[in-house]
Symmetry: C2
Subunit: 132 residues, 2 copies
DNA sequence: TATTGTTATACTCTATAACTATA
DNA sequence: TATAGTTATAGAGTATAACAATA
């Protein structure tokens, strides 16, 4: 049950990478862009907490995304220890593609599933996130 | 929905590592031991397909597990290109601990869930493994 | 003192390709 | 020719600890 979860993650990350192959993005880059896709500026800590990517890993991810012109880091005037991460126009375009690929996969996978099954899935996944 | 799956994987891998901290095993080592836990000899290809770990990664994983005395590689007399991976007695003991940690986490997570919810979870996870 | 984010180090995991031994 | 598994290389992800700047 737990191992099936891990296999599904492996597999869907692969499917996602294949559908986005032309963008040439690594897993965490895809994840981070999906997280920033709505365009709202965020600190580094926020996507780190949301995705489970460590801050030390995120530094490298953000370096690459910034170098490619997908986002900018600006000092937060309200707290000058932290940044405001903002997607550029090209970054928003790429993030939009990522979001669409994610929802496409979700749609494909859920085609044959009932609402009740989906609810059960959500409940168990939520419970797994609470395990300590 | 898909991102929640990935978060749950991240989180449960973490919980598993924490519960097995004294064993000092990396993620793929845990995964591989869980896969071999029943004691049946296997080729390298089999756990690779079952876990999604690449054969090139598995070589290093098996090297470490062999060096620690948890398994042996023996040439398969029936097909001398391939190995038979067999757990040693210490390897079986460690694999047993891994299995117990996995089932403990599953039990904890499913404590408040109905059979119907679990069935929905299984169905959706299976569907996600079929996405291409 | 605590927090944000970066840097440094060392190790694990992945992708790709080339390689050997065997089938 | 094809398959099982290893090796090599380079990049990506993690853990841990130390650090500067700010709160």
């Amino acid at each position: 049950m737990l191992l099936a979860l891990h296999r599904a993650t492996h597999h869907t990350l692969h499917a996602l990478a294949a559908r986005l192959a032309t963008l040439d993005l690594a897993g965490s880059e895809v994840n981070t862009l999906a997280n920033l896709a709505d365009g709202r500026p965020r600190s580094v800590r926020e996507p780190s907490a949301d995705t489970g990517i460590r801050a030390t890993t995120l530094t490298g991810v953000l370096d690459r995304l910034e170098r490619r012109g997908y986002l900018v880091r600006e000092l937060d005037p309200a707290d000058r220890r932290s940044f405001r991460l903002t997607l550029t126009a090209p970054g928003r375009a790429v993030a939009g593609q990522v979001r669409r690929a994610v929802t496409d996969i979700e749609r494909d996978a859920l085609a044959g599933q009932s609402g009740r099954q989906l609810a059960g899935y959500r409940a168990v996944v939520a419970a797994l996130q609470e395990v300590s």
